[in-house]
Symmetry: C7
Subunit: 75 residues, 7 copies
């Protein structure tokens, strides 16, 4: 019998891939996922800030706190 899939399995599959994160407020972050933990804290590389889908600034590497995330989506 196989274990049912769980939401964090999606993050495991996305390691090394580019993801888009929508935060509370209007801010979005796009970058390559390097690591995550059980609080949904994420490290991203080549990260960029977007607002309303438009590039606002390039940030590079960043550690994002999970508590501000609305959703995470592979791009």
């Amino acid at each position: 019998m196989t274990q049912p899939e769980r939401p964090f399995d999606l993050l495991n599959k996305e390691i090394g891939q580019t993801i888009l994160i929508r935060l509370k407020g209007s801010l979005q972050i796009r970058g390559k996922l390097t690591s995550f933990d059980i609080h949904m804290n994420l490290v991203l590389q080549d990260a960029e800030e977007l607002e309303e889908g438009e590039l606002k600034s390039k940030v590079g590497t960043l550690l994002l706190r999970g508590g501000n995330i609305i959703y995470i989506s592979p791009v």
Copy 2:
């Protein structure tokens, strides 16, 4: 004697079905439920953002944090 039903049983029944999620703020998400956990974190496929019931954008797969959910409804 049967166990009384519990709220998460509804999520179990909706795996593979399309659900509508109303979030804090005016955002709604509609998509096919793939997995969930005890924090009500959800993975959806073919997900779409709606605002006031109108399609705003197609997102595809997404991992939604449970903490921002007001309610979940089968569609």
Copy 3:
């Protein structure tokens, strides 16, 4: 000696009955209570959204997160 009554006893009595839920913000939900858990997560059937007491939309079945509830009242 009888146990003193506790707030959740009210929810137990209301299973199968119509209740009105006032949420943070101006939203109210009315529906028939099917199940609940210790976080006050509720499943409702024939649920409707109200605003300022007026019907806004019919939702059907829904799973409501307890964290957004201000109060629950039998109707």
Copy 4:
């Protein structure tokens, strides 16, 4: 040696009495206290909503979540 009094002792004394509850935002609730738990969830009977001290609507019985309470006062 007597135990020092604790804040929840006040709720114990007010069972069956009318209390006024000030909530976050401008809403106040007045009603007869029936039961409470350690989260300060309360059941009230003959409850009324007030705003700025004026009667807004009669609600009857209600289960109020403790998390929205600013203070509780005997009347």
Copy 5:
């Protein structure tokens, strides 16, 4: 060797004394401290609401939830 003093020691010393509490938002409460617990829930007697330092209304006895407190000051 003496134990270092801790913040709650201040509340112990203020039992029976008048204190001023500044809450989130613009509300302040002044009253005589009767009891407190580890969540900083307080019972006050002869309590008054103030706004911008001016008396707004007399409340009498009240149970104040700790979660809304910014600071407590002896007066």
Copy 6:
């Protein structure tokens, strides 16, 4: 081998010294640190409220809840 330093070590060193605390919202508090606990609850003496760096009022002794703090800085 020495233990790595931790953020609360800064508070230990500042006991008896004047610190500036920036709170959520525009409020700042300046005063002499007397005690603290693991929730970052602080007792200050000769405390003053500031707004935009200007003295607003003298409060004297106060117990500040840690949950509203953005940062603490020695002055």
Copy 7:
């Protein structure tokens, strides 16, 4: 077999380096990381407040509560 990397490993590598912290609201803090704990509380040296990327004030040493952080980025 090596342990997978985790988000807090980034903080370990940045000890002694300058980092930029974006907080809830419009405030940003830039400074040299001295220490951190599991709540993402940080001590910074030579810290500066920025708003919209422009220097607002020099703060010096500060202890920043983790709960207000959106992200941390090496500069």
